[in-house]
Symmetry: C2
Subunit: 324 residues, 2 copies
Amino acid sequence: MKEITNLMNYRDSVKVVDATLRDGGLVNNFNFSDKFVHDLYLANLKAGVDYMEFGYKANKEMFDVNKFGKWKFCNEEDLRAVVGDNDTDLKIAIMADVGRCDYKNDIPDKSESVVDLIRVATYLNQIPTAVDMIEDAKKKGYEVSCNIMAISTAQEGDLRSALDILGKTPVDVFYIVDSFGAMYPEQLQRLAALYVEFAEKYGKKVGIHAHNNQQLAFANTIEAVGDGIDWLDATYSSMGRGAGNCAMELLLGFLKNPKYNVYPVIKFIDEHMTKLREEGVLWGYDLQYLMTGLLNQHPRTAIAFTNERRKDYTEFYKEIVAMD
Amino acid sequence: MKEITNLMNYRDSVKVVDATLRDGGLVNNFNFSDKFVHDLYLANLKAGVDYMEFGYKANKEMFDVNKFGKWKFCNEEDLRAVVGDNDTDLKIAIMADVGRCDYKNDIPDKSESVVDLIRVATYLNQIPTAVDMIEDAKKKGYEVSCNIMAISTAQEGDLRSALDILGKTPVDVFYIVDSFGAMYPEQLQRLAALYVEFAEKYGKKVGIHAHNNQQLAFANTIEAVGDGIDWLDATYSSMGRGAGNCAMELLLGFLKNPKYNVYPVIKFIDEHMTKLREEGVLWGYDLQYLMTGLLNQHPRTAIAFTNERRKDYTEFYKEIVAMD
């Protein structure tokens, strides 16, 4: 029987990454109040979270700064307005999407930034650009992870090639990203074994970013802990695109490292997340997301269904099973 | 690596039990409309569900028939009004609680009933009465399961004794019941191994009834499938006491036996469950249930919090961590 975790003990190498602003920002176009962001930073500090992802470093040529909140762009001065020089144990992360980030110009040297970690997000067919972004960020002095998205539709051969290419870069962490919320724990276990094989070969760490389409984001994340995966993404109240992510409050309740503390998370949810929902910001598990997860489809149709305030699940099911 | 399921295949011995009326009845005092119940019966037939649990066989000396819907009592004529002689492949189940069922008088011979399965629900300290109920039901001609509740607070030694006593009865199925929604998949796996040990010794089957306090009801149920557990409880839209149960729509999406079909489940949810929620019937995962699950406490405090429409999660957390 697999010792999924030492139930009463913990593994020091586990890192928790709060992705609330970044993945949650996809729900509300990054329109978080300054108080929300500042309180989240304080909550993460008190909760013992290891990294806080503030948002994207999006290309301003491609995205209109007037149409999104500031965390779509993560200007250095906006980060510093929240964290100062961030003289804390909580590290700062931002995400840089392949093809949607002018990384050479917009990411400064680490010496000029409070950011610690650049998370390069890529699809399998963009790996060469991801490699260039990793090398650029590493040369500038950052920690770097590479999040390979949508792997539930990938061929194993392609994934092996990608991991072998990435293994030879200076990237620190490979991330498994279940973009469609399509994976069951036993599939995650197999995928984890593949990532760990290449991580061990090249001296990398492995991370997991799960989606909750089938109410498995938390279950897959703790499965991953048992499979030797150390970097765990979570968001407060599961806030994230579509069905959302692994809930921070579930994850910190599970992890036994005394540095983690679930109480500040509950307090933050009480003060901020309930309000957000009351204001009409919509995310989280619902039948339309189950369906796209089950069918291993991108959730964009389910998100549209949600945004149109539709409730005719039966019609929606008929629409999406008819898609090729 | 454990072959949790044959991912592309299925195990013929798996049985799905719909517990919507019974566990869901705990949310609305069994006040389901006749149309709801009839449509649910038809949906289960079309979905290929193996057993449908209609409710409790509660003692009318203890419970006022005017204060509950009829499925608290499951009179034979009420069952027949829905299922006729039930000349179908869907079997009918009812639950009989130790100490709350006048089983000798209220459960007729199988020859006089459309019920197929009596589910005896017991706490560990009531096993001798459970044994008497099992023997009574078996003598009358029924299939019988025994659901041992609240085992997340049990001593392993006591559980072993109980399984050894039950093994010697004519019961057909031992049920693992995670009443508090407190168990993680790795704990479930260990418990499943214990139940399977006694089941194999005595020629019994094993079942699982999960609660969703930590969004693990489905994850624990599919973990159980991989551990050799065959009888799986689920409810439509997870409807059940507190955080609810394993969702039927998730479970049938996962199981690969072609006799199961998720579409009638989606259709039923569309037609009935959304309406139930709009009428104010409240169940499902929320922070207060996470907390009692995490602390391995009975959810009664969280249910009270829900019913009072409280949202002050922080205060609630402080209240329940102070409890001994």
